[in-house]
Homo-oligomer: 112 residues x 2
DNA sequence: CTGTTATATCGCAATATTACGATGAATTTC
DNA sequence: GAAATTCATCGTAATATTGCGATATAACAG
């Protein structure tokens, strides 16, 4: 199929999955790391930084922008991308809250 | 294409992306939430819990098991699944460390 | 031993993702 | 203005993901 049955799940579960999907590519991880690290803010010398074609980088940037994790502003000829502070905070808070849970100290051998 | 150019990225970036991909489906989020919540530990009444076919649930469980996030033990006729404590800890630590970063307080308007 | 139950896997169909060349729009440079 | 630069988008090809029915295997129940 390739289509997820989102109807079956809670809004929170779908949101978490959607955010995780945004991080589910090394290029997008690399972009976010680059933007998180660079105090000089952003722009698409990302094309040089990553080894991908310009069209591909643009596509990844769009995904991150659609998720609200980054934002871009036009500066004449070029685009400046940077982390979207609120979007990033919200997303990472949600994911961290999910990931921060610890399992009960029960083993699999426990009968159900 | 559909294939990621993992060669271009660091091992850490690929690992983070692989873990995120594991979480990139609401059914897998739901499975993990269920296993994290249930002190009774596991097993595949997950098929009833989620609204998906048995084959589909089994497939999602396999993905989570391959990532080391859960583990399963055979108990006679049935499988008992539960969170893999070390695997879950390692994975969540890696992701939380990445997500915990804050952007520099620079705006996109900063020239690069 | 036979039938039932629980689960993994195979094979397939539908859809999504990834990657890139080509093209177009906007802007700068000369 | 003409050429060059920067970037988004379109179209397309290759591969991945999702979902499920069917089937195989193993264990249990009678």
């Amino acid at each position: 199929m390739g289509i997820s049955k989102t109807i079956l799940f809670t809004a929170e579960q779908n949101t978490l999955a959607r955010l995780a999907k945004g991080l589910a590519h090394p290029a997008r991880i690399a972009i976010l790391e680059y933007l998180l690290d660079s105090n000089t803010c952003c722009n698409s010398n990302l094309v040089a930084e990553l080894g991908l074609a310009q069209a591909t980088v643009s596509q990844h940037l769009r995904e991150l922008k659609d998720l609200g994790l980054i934002q871009g502003t036009i500066s004449g000829n070029t685009m400046n991308y940077c982390i979207h502070p609120e979007g990033w905070r919200e997303a990472s808070d949600l994911l961290i809250h999910f990931l921060g849970r610890s399992p009960f100290p029960s083993t699999c051998s426990t009968t159900c």
